[in-house]
Amino acid sequence: MDSLAIILQQLVNGLTLGSVYGLIAIGYTMVYGIIGMINFAHGDLYMVSAYLTAIFLALLSFFGIDSLPVVLFLTLLGTMAITGVYGWVIERVAYRPLRNSTRLAPLISAIGISFVLQEYVRINQGSNDQGIPALLFGAVRVPVGNDFFQITYSQILIIVVSLLGMGLLTYVIQKTELGRQCRATQMDRKMSGILGIHTDRIISTVFVIGAAMGAVAGVLVTLNYGSFNFSSGFIIGIKAFTAAVLGGIGSLPGAMLGGIVLGMAESLFSGLVNTDYKDVFAFGLLVTVMIFKPSGLLGKPAVEKV
């Protein structure tokens, strides 16, 4: 292959992977921003959404709906809604009762929920790999010299839907009443409460939004890679968390930037240097950023509230 074509292809690979990391990273970063906890169950919510995707696809084909755009849209909507409910329930059951205890308590609770979700899916759905048939075939091929690089339709879908989702979310947070309340709660929860914001409801909303964005990733990844099992949320969850930290945890654009930087770094290192050490490189990058910019790429330095 033409070396320019290879680099362009690796950029496409990295952008796709990075968009997925970014989508999942949103869940980590928003929750951290608003209540300062790491929701370790978030990767498993992504896994639940992969199963929901398969269930919705089966249901829709059962009801004879076979127009691809309609199927994709309904699957996306349904999966986001149900995963959002999961997010809401988890916050109510596992985190809210612990909100005024030590900082570590909700963290341990999150790890517990992660186990609960995995075992719940394993017992109900079995531990074997599950898969869905490929729905989107084909790719756009761009000639470069006497070679080409390609971007498949499902990769285009991943990148476009991710960017749309991010754009929409940014609009909601920056421009709407709900967004203002979210930001106010993030800045100072007690003061927001005094000023009449229903902070508990805002926190619930943030969990729902985070879970729904994870569900978008779950649908897209399932469509693109085809298979999943009850433990498939673990590694991608860790990577997305890394992306959130890299971009500056608590920062929404940071999550997306962190995701894309991490995806690109992995793809380029894997493609141009060595696959064995791509994770070493990615985490090396994280450490380097943390040394020079401890709050992450777009994070604001933490100010002690007095």
Binding site: M1, S3, I6, Q9, Q10, N13, G14, T16, L17, V20, R122, G126, S127, N128, D129, Q130, G131, I132, P133, A134, A139, Q150, T152, V221, Y225, G226, S227, F228, N229, S231, S232, F234, I235, I236, E266, S267, L268, S270, G271, N274, T275, D276, K278, D279
Partner: protein, 371 residues
């Protein structure tokens, strides 16, 4: 209401087993493998094979007059789980023998525990040479070795396919990398140097960057040492990127789950793999195969190996006239020609089979058949 029903049902079961226990002596045998987790398809094969064998052996009088009771041990193919399963089996359950484990990376650390406890161990599926090469007296293997498997794959690539450029990918695990290395050594010995040798991460799904890299090497053949959960997405992404190179792997993809992991039969069409000659084809095993099929289970992959392993345990203990693991092991080292559902088996001083029978299989229309 529900609770009381459950409790009374439990009481009946407990009482039932107590009566059975006093009526007839029992010998406990462990079946260890990935019964849950991403590789549970293989644990299922081990469990089905061992259960059917135990049933058949018990019907024929058991081991030294004692009935086999199976104990399940789940290691999820994780070495540290395997050690704790081994300890539990040896100390708490007091098993006399273990059929297992599946993954070489589990079998190797677990075998040390069994060795110390004097438990007889026979793995139906762990093919890494180290399992038996350490010379532990109570460790046996009812399948071939990766160095034998690698020779078959390597010679096939060079002599039959006449391929000049081969990319070798592995999953950085004991089994996967060991198999990849065995094939690599054979290839190098035959004068072919691989164009790429890299490891991917188990549990990931996106191998696009690696696939692009393989594509840039213009490899005609991609050899993968690893299991189906990673092989599936890898071969799918190769095909999606328009890379038509032949995909060859080993016994780690002998399961229908390989098709599921790839997301469809079309992606695995033409994939080759090395595996023992059809384990269901032996006349001696016809009856066992028939009973599997009658119960609605296709004895795929390592099922018959597990059945055979259980038969070897019974034969060794009956031969030694003792349920002591080490005495049975000594007898098995001294005596050969054990009649099993996969023909007559003998073991060498290390505990390996004296004859290996790896052949090439091909995936077609979502099923595999000898090529």
């Amino acid at each position: 209401m529900h609770k009381s029903i459950k409790i009374s049902a439990l009481a009946v079961v407990t009482a039932g087993s107590l009566i059975a226990g006093s009526a007839m002596a029992e010998i406990k045998i462990g079946v260890a493998g990935p019964h849950t987790g991403p590789y549970a398809a293989f644990g299922m094969q081990l469990w089905k094979g061992a259960s059917q064998a135990a049933k058949d052996i018990n019907a024929a009088g058991g081991i030294n007059g004692e009935m086999i009771v199976l104990v399940k041990g789940d290691d999820r193919c994780e070495p540290k789980e395997a050690v704790s399963v081994a300890n539990r089996m040896a100390d708490q359950d007091g098993v006399a023998a273990v059929v297992g484990h599946f993954c070489s990376s589990s079998s190797i650390p677990a075998s040390v525990v069994y060795d110390e406890a004097g438990v007889f161990m026979i793995t139906p599926a762990s093919t890494n040479p180290t399992v038996t090469d350490r010379g532990l007296p109570g460790v046996f293997r009812a399948c071939g070795r990766d160095d034998q498997q690698g020779i078959v794959a390597g010679e096939y690539i060079v002599n039959t396919l006449k391929a000049k450029s081969v990319a070798i990918i592995h999953d950085k695990d004991t089994y996967g990398q060991g198999l990849a290395d065995a094939t690599k050594n054979t290839l190098n010995g035959l004068g072919v140097t691989e164009v790429l040798y890299e490891g991917l991460t188990r549990g990931e799904k996106d191998f696009n960057a690696l696939v692009t890299k393989i594509k840039s090497t213009k490899a005609e053949v991609v050899y993968f040492g690893g299991l189906h959960s990673e092989a599936g997405p890898l071969v799918r992404q190769m095909r999606e990127q328009g890379l038509t190179a032949l995909f060859i792997s080993g016994d780690g993809i002998v399961s229908q789950d390989f098709v599921t992991a790839a997301g469809g039969a079309s992606f695995v069409e033409g994939v080759l793999m090395t595996f023992g000659a059809d384990p269901t084809s032996y006349p001696a095993g016809a009856e066992a195969v028939a009973s599997f099929k009658a119960s609605g289970y296709e004895p795929e992959g390592y099922t018959m190996y597990s059945y055979t392993a259980m038969q070897v345990v019974a034969a060794a203990m009956n031969g030694a006239k003792s349920n002591d693991g080490m005495k049975a092991a000594a007898w098995l080292h001294a005596n050969g020609n054990i009649a099993t559902a996969m023909g007559s088996k003998s073991f060498d001083s290390k505990g390996d089979l004296t004859v290996s029978d790896y052949v090439m299989y091909e995936w077609k229309d979502g099923n595999y058949a000898e090529k």
